[in-house]
Amino acid sequence: EAGVTQSPTHLIKTRGQQATLRCSPISGHTSVYWYQQALGLGLQFLLWYDEGEERNRGNFPPRFSGRQFPNYSSELNVNALELEDSALYLCASSLVTEAFFGQGTRLTVV
């Protein structure tokens, strides 16, 4: 069974640009979570989608947004990139209790 897959693995963007990160959940999982892991800050919750709806949102500005598609895959968009957005972005999927994580997208803003 395929795990959670994220693309791209690495992404380099210039300050002010937009970044789009993608996530495919484990087959049958309807919930997708996005987390930001910046150096020294642990995992910060960004967004939670379930059955196509946004269920919860972390303490991030509106330029962080996303969506979940009918096949439960998800997209995270970050507009007007800032240097401090450089981080590992992790996607996780869940059916009931535990969440399973992808390998992450390393976003570097220069």
């Binding site: 959670v4 994220q6 979570y33 987390y35 800050l41 642990g42 995992l43 919750f45 939670w48 379930d50 269920r55 919860n56 972390g58 590992l88 992790l90 996780a92 209790t97 535990e98 969440a99 399973f100 994580f101 992808g102 390998q103 992450g104 390393r106």
Partner: protein, 114 residues
């Protein structure tokens, strides 16, 4: 609001010795508790969970964790540490019900010395 505290940034242990990584939590209502491990430049791997039932739960790679409701703790343990256990460990909690996501602690770096 939910929160997790991992009081130790770093834990060092000799290979073959028992290890403990500490975690305390705060949540209204009954908790779901989890431990994850992260190797360098990788995502998080699920180790074990507590949902209900026995306070001692067993997970992957010989790890176990003990749920203590009165102390609101969920410490990760392993009887005999391996060098390959060296990694970053995260404790996480979510509320039993409601639209609440997993909330993670800041992580504890475990270093097992040969």
């Amino acid at each position: 609001a939910q929160s997790v505290a991992q009081p130790e940034d770093q834990v060092n242990v000799a290979e073959g010795n028992p290890l403990t990584v500490k975690c305390t939590y705060s949540v209204s209502g009954n908790p779901y508790l989890f431990w994850y491990v992260q190797y360098p430049n990788r995502g998080l791997q699920f180790l074990l969970k507590y949902i209900t039932g026995d306070n001692l739960v067993k997970g992957s790679y010989g790890f176990e964790a003990e749920f203590n409701k009165s102390q609101t703790s969920f410490h990760l343990k392993k009887p005999s540490a391996l060098v390959s256990d060296s990694a970053l460990y995260f404790c996480a909690v979510r509320r039993y019900s409601g639209n609440t996501p997993l909330v993670f602690g800041k992580g504890t770096r475990l270093s097992v010395i040969a």
